[in-house]
C-alpha cells in the first residue's frame, strides 16, 4: 500500500505544487477531482470496463501537462476537458476497431458482451447503444449536459467550443436521442419522467 502525503492549500497553491512536483500534490489533485472526472467519463461511456484505465490516463496526462494550464481557476474544467478528449479518443479507437473487424467476420461474434444481468443494465446498454449512433460531437454534448449535468458554459468549455455551437449540438442530440428512444419499449418507463419535455416539444 502506498500512503499519500497530504498537501494543504487552495487551487492556486495546488497548481504551483503540481508544477514543482510537491510529493503530496498529485494525491490531493486526485482526491479533490477524481470523483468528478469519473462521473464525466462514465457519463460519456456508460458502464464501461475501461473506466479505471481511462481515469488513470486522465490524471497521468494532467500531471504531465500541468505546465500548460494558464489559469488555475480553470483547473476543474481543464480536467473535464482532458476527460472529454480521452473519452472521445477511446470511442474513436473502438469505431476503428469495429470498422476493421468487418474484414474478419469470425471475430465479430467475439466482441459481443455477456448478457446484462439486471433490468437497469439492460436499459443502460440500450441508452448507450442509442448514443453510439449519434455523431461524436452530439453524443458528447448529450452526455455532458443531460447525463453528467454540467452547466451549458462548463460543458461548452470542456468540449472546447463556443456556447452557441454547443447548444446547437445539444439540440440535435436531444432530438435524435428522443426519437430513437421512443422506439425502444424497454426505455418507456425511463422516458416517462420526460413527458414534460416531450409535450413541450410537440406543443
Amino acid at each position: 500500500m502506498v500512503t499519500p502525503l497530504k498537501f494543504i492549500g487552495d487551487e492556486r497553491a495546488l497548481v504551483e505544487a503540481l508544477r514543482s512536483r510537491h510529493p503530496g500534490a498529485a494525491s490531493t489533485l486526485y482526491e479533490r477531482y477524481a470523483a468528478g472526472v469519473l462521473r464525466t467519463l462514465r457519463s460519456a461511456l456508460g458502464p464501461d470496463p475501461d473506466l479505471p484505465d481511462l481515469l488513470q490516463e486522465v490524471f497521468i496526462r494532467a500531471l504531465d501537462s500541468i505546465a500548460q494550464l494558464e489559469d488555475h481557476e480553470r483547473l476543474r474544467n481543464w480536467l473535464a476537458g482532458i476527460a472529454v478528449f480521452s473519452a472521445r479518443a477511446l470511442i474513436r479507437r473502438r469505431a476503428r476497431r469495429r470498422w476493421l473487424s468487418l474484414f474478419s467476420p469470425q471475430r465479430v461474434a467475439s466482441t459481443e458482451q455477456a448478457p446484462p444481468s439486471s433490468e437497469a443494465r439492460l436499459a443502460l446498454r440500450e441508452i448507450y447503444e442509442l448514443l453510439n449512433r449519434l455523431p461524436l460531437d452530439e453524443r458528447m454534448a448529450f452526455a455532458l449536459r443531460i447525463i453528467d449535468g454540467m452547466t451549458l458554459p462548463d460543458a461548452a468549455d470542456a468540449c472546447g467550443v463556443s456556447l452557441a455551437t454547443f447548444k446547437r449540438r445539444l439540440v440535435r442530440a436531444e432530438r435524435a436521442f428522443l426519437e430513437a428512444a421512443e422506439q425502444r419499449p424497454l426505455l418507456e418507463p425511463w422516458l416517462r419522467g420526460g413527458t414534460r419535455w416531450t409535450l413541450r416539444r410537440q406543443g
Binding site: 498529485a26 500531471l63 473487424s101 466482441t111 444481468s117 453528467d148 418507463p189 416531450t198 413541450r200
Partner: protein
C-alpha cells in the same frame, strides 16, 4: 443561461443514478488512486523518462501498419468465461459442490476456484480482467492469475465482507450462520473490507484472518414496514478492533435529519464502500421518512439486493422485492425486481411462489434476462 430543468434532465439524473450503482465508483476511485500513486512514485525515482503520451505516440508510430494489420485479427477485450467440472454455467447460476466431491471452476484467463465439498458460490459477473464472485457458503480455494499488461479486477464477496484481489492464491471460507469469514493467504495479497471493519485491511502472504460480524437485527416477519424497521446498530469484529465509539450512533442521528438526496447518496456511498450496516440504516431511514417517494421504492429494491447478494437471506430479499413491485409496478427496476423475486422464491424452495413469479415474469419479459430461469422453473 440554462433553461428550467426539463424532463430530459430528469431522465439524465436517472441514468446517472443507475451508472452510480453499476460502475462501483468507490472501488474504481480507490483502485486508480493506488495505481496513480505507484505511477507517481515510480516516475519520481527514475530519470526523466519520456512521458506517457510521448512513449505511447512513439510506440504507435513504430508499430505502424503492422499494428493495423494485427488489429484485424486481434481478439478484442471481452469478459472472461468459466466452466465447471460439472458442465457449463452462466453468470448468476448457483455453483454447488456435492457433499462428496469438490467442484472446480476454470476461468478462461487461467484463474481457478475450487469449491470444497458442500460449498456453494455464484459468479455474479465477469469482466475482461476478472469477475465478481459471491461465496454463499463453505470453503473456496482460489488462484487468481495476473494478466500481463492488464490490471486484474477480481472481487470476492461473502456476507458483509469483500475481498479485493490483484493476483494471488488464498483460501476463503464463509459460514453464514455464524457470519464468520476466514481467509488464509498463500501467495500475494488482498484487501479485505466489510461492514464491521473500521477500514479495509491488507492481508499479505502467510497471514490468516478470521473475522465475524454480529448478527443483524432480524428481518421483518411480515412484508417490510417502514414504521417498524430497526436498523442494525452494533457489530463486532476480530482480529481488528473497529473504531466503534459514538460514531455509528451519530450516523443514525444524522439519517434522521438528512435530506432525501443526502440519504440516497450516503446509502450508495456506504454500500459501495462495503459498509452494509450503515447503508441499510440510511435506506431504512429513507423509507421511513419519505415513504411516498420514488427513492423509497428504489431503497426497497436495494435492501432486497443486499439481503440477497450479501447475506443470502432470500426470505427477506423476497419481501423487499415484492415491496418494490407493489410500490412501483412500472418502475425502472421492475423487471429486475420481478426476476430476483422469482429467484429468491426458487432459492427458498417455495415452488408455488416461484412458478407464479415465473409466469408473471414471462408475460412481461419473454426475452428478459431471467426468462430462461423462469421457463426452467415452469418446466420442472
Amino acid at each position: 443561461m440554462d433553461s428550467p430543468k426539463t424532463g430530459l434532465m430528469v431522465l439524465g439524473e436517472r441514468i446517472q443514478a443507475a451508472l452510480e450503482v453499476e460502475t462501483r465508483p468507490a472501488e474504481v476511485l480507490r483502485e486508480v488512486q493506488l495505481r496513480l500513486l505507484e505511477h507517481v512514485t515510480d516516475t519520481r525515482h527514475k530519470a526523466r523518462a519520456p512521458s506517457f503520451w510521448q512513449a505511447r505516440s512513439a510506440a504507435l508510430a513504430a508499430l505502424g501498419l503492422l499494428a493495423l494489420g494485427a488489429l484485424v485479427f486481434e481478439a478484442w477485450p471481452r469478459p472472461i468465461s468459466f466452466v465447471t467440472s460439472s458442465g457449463e454455467r452462466d453468470a448468476g447460476d448457483v455453483l454447488s459442490a456435492s457433499e462428496h466431491a469438490p467442484l472446480r471452476i476454470d476461468f478462461s484467463e487461467g484463474s481457478l476456484m475450487v469449491l470444497h465439498e458442500g460449498s456453494s458460490a455464484r459468479v455474479l459477473e465477469t469482466q475482461p480482467a476478472g469477475a465478481r464472485v459471491l461465496l454463499e457458503n463453505g470453503v473456496a480455494d482460489v488462484s487468481v492469475v495476473h494478466q500481463q499488461g492488464r490490471a486484474a479486477h477480481w472481487r470476492f464477496e461473502a456476507g458483509p465482507f469483500q475481498v479485493l484481489v490483484k493476483g494471488t492464491q488464498f483460501e476463503l471460507a464463509w459460514q453464514p450462520a455464524q457470519e464468520a469469514l476466514s481467509l488464509t493467504m498463500k501467495e500475494g495479497s488482498v484487501e479485505l473490507s466489510g461492514s464491521c471493519l473500521a477500514k479495509p485491511q491488507l492481508v499479505a502472504r502467510g497471514s490468516s484472518v478470521r473475522v465475524s460480524c454480529a448478527k443483524a437485527a432480524p428481518a421483518p416477519a411480515q412484508a417490510p414496514s417502514t414504521a417498524h424497521e430497526t436498523p442494525r446498530t452494533s457489530t463486532t469484529a476480530e482480529p481488528s478492533k473497529p473504531e466503534r465509539t459514538a460514531e455509528p450512533r451519530s450516523f443514525e442521528a444524522s439519517c434522521e435529519s438528512a435530506a432525501k438526496a443526502e440519504l440516497v447518496a450516503w446509502a450508495n456511498r456506504e454500500r459501495l464502500a462495503g459498509s452494509l450496516a450503515r447503508a441499510r440504516t440510511a435506506l431504512l431511514a429513507l423509507r421511513r421518512r419519505f415513504p411516498e417517494s420514488r427513492e423509497a421504492g428504489t431503497a426497497a429494491f436495494t435492501l432486497g439486493r443486499m439481503a440477497f447478494d450479501q447475506r443470502a437471506n432470500f426470505a427477506e430479499a423476497a419481501r423487499w422485492f415484492a415491496s418494490y413491485l407493489a410500490e412501483q409496478p412500472d418502475g425502472p427496476l421492475m423487471g429486475d425486481a420481478a426476476g430476483r423475486l422469482l429467484e429468491a422464491h426458487e432459492r427458498l424452495g417455495d415452488r408455488a411462489s416461484a412458478r407464479r413469479d415465473a409466469e408473471s415474469y414471462l408475460r412481461r419479459f419473454p426475452d428478459g434476462p431471467y426468462a430462461s430461469r423462469a421457463r426452467r422453473i415452469l418446466a420442472e
